[in-house]
Amino acid sequence: MTPRQKRMVTVAAILVGVGIATAFALQAFQKNLLYYYSPSQVKSGEAPTSRSFRVGGLVENGSLKREPGSLEVRFTLTDFAQEVGVSYTGVLPDLFREGQGVIARGKLRDDGTFVAEEVLAKHDENYMPPEVKQSLKPHAQATGATQAAGQGST
């Protein structure tokens, strides 16, 4: 082999290696690398039952109930297809409100209620003053819905 051919072989080997790496990476991104499960996945039994995991979804409007005399709250998480009842004892983050996307970490109880040990509020990448938000309301809710549905299945 001439030195020139030798160099070509080396370059080719590097390109093949990088190509294989890219192929694997692309495959992996289609797989379940999820940080959290959607309520639909919980209902269909995809989520683990024996250990704690994360559920993500929107807090359903009108579902938030506080137990009088304690810090316990109950609410329903939805991805507009299925919903999961969540119970949580503790201080909620400031962004927590109905219609808001949240991620809860905890365990599924036998009766299908999700007992959260921790509730984190996920805020979206949109920033705007309240007045603007008010005027956008119907539209914004529609996008919020598709977003939440999309989040579960990525």
């Binding site: 082999m1 030798k6 590097i14 790496a21 990476a25 992996a28 379940n32 683990p48």
Partner: protein
Amino acid sequence: MRRAAVSAAARLVFTRDLTLAWRRWDEVAQPLIFYVVVTTLFPLATTPDLTELRKIAGGVLWVAALLSSLLALESLFRSDVEDGTMEQWVLSGQPLGWLLLAKVACHWVLTGLPLVVISPIIGTALGLPFDAWGTLIVSLLLGTATLSVLGGIGAALTVGVRRGSVLLSLLVLPLAMPLLIFGSRAVTMAMDGDSPAGPLQLLAAIFFLVLSLGPLAMSAAIRISVES
């Protein structure tokens, strides 16, 4: 002239290191003993309860593997640089990257592979179910091999440096963190009955990326290290 082919040269490097290791087997065994000792520390320090232990088993095996690989890497190039062998390699007219890759491959066979072989047994002692053996082995195979190359870059950079071993961990550990994350995630997912394909594919992606670009970085680093 009968110039030796690159493959023949790489094979010579590989057999030379095997021969040397055979004559110094006690040094080669050290990382493996370290691995076993570190993993047995965890049940003593946390809890002997297997149901509790299995929750952290994946992480424990991976952290121990990472640390023991680092231990072995520190001396990877030292003697060859100090006795002048490495400058002869640089001047051999063979592509240095291939020679170094062969050396790292031999190093992996001597330190990474035994660790992979023994890890299911240690895993069982930590409560790892039989179902997760396959994932553990595959993830460690990919992970330790990647670590050998990554660590090779770090070792090549720090070979002529004061306090090289501390520096080596500072350089290699951040780069190795994705391995740790995906590797232990794969093991945990397999234990919980989920499909570990996602993290395993990411490990494979990192492995091939490091395998193809790592030798370039290693040879650049070695050329700098033989200057002194």
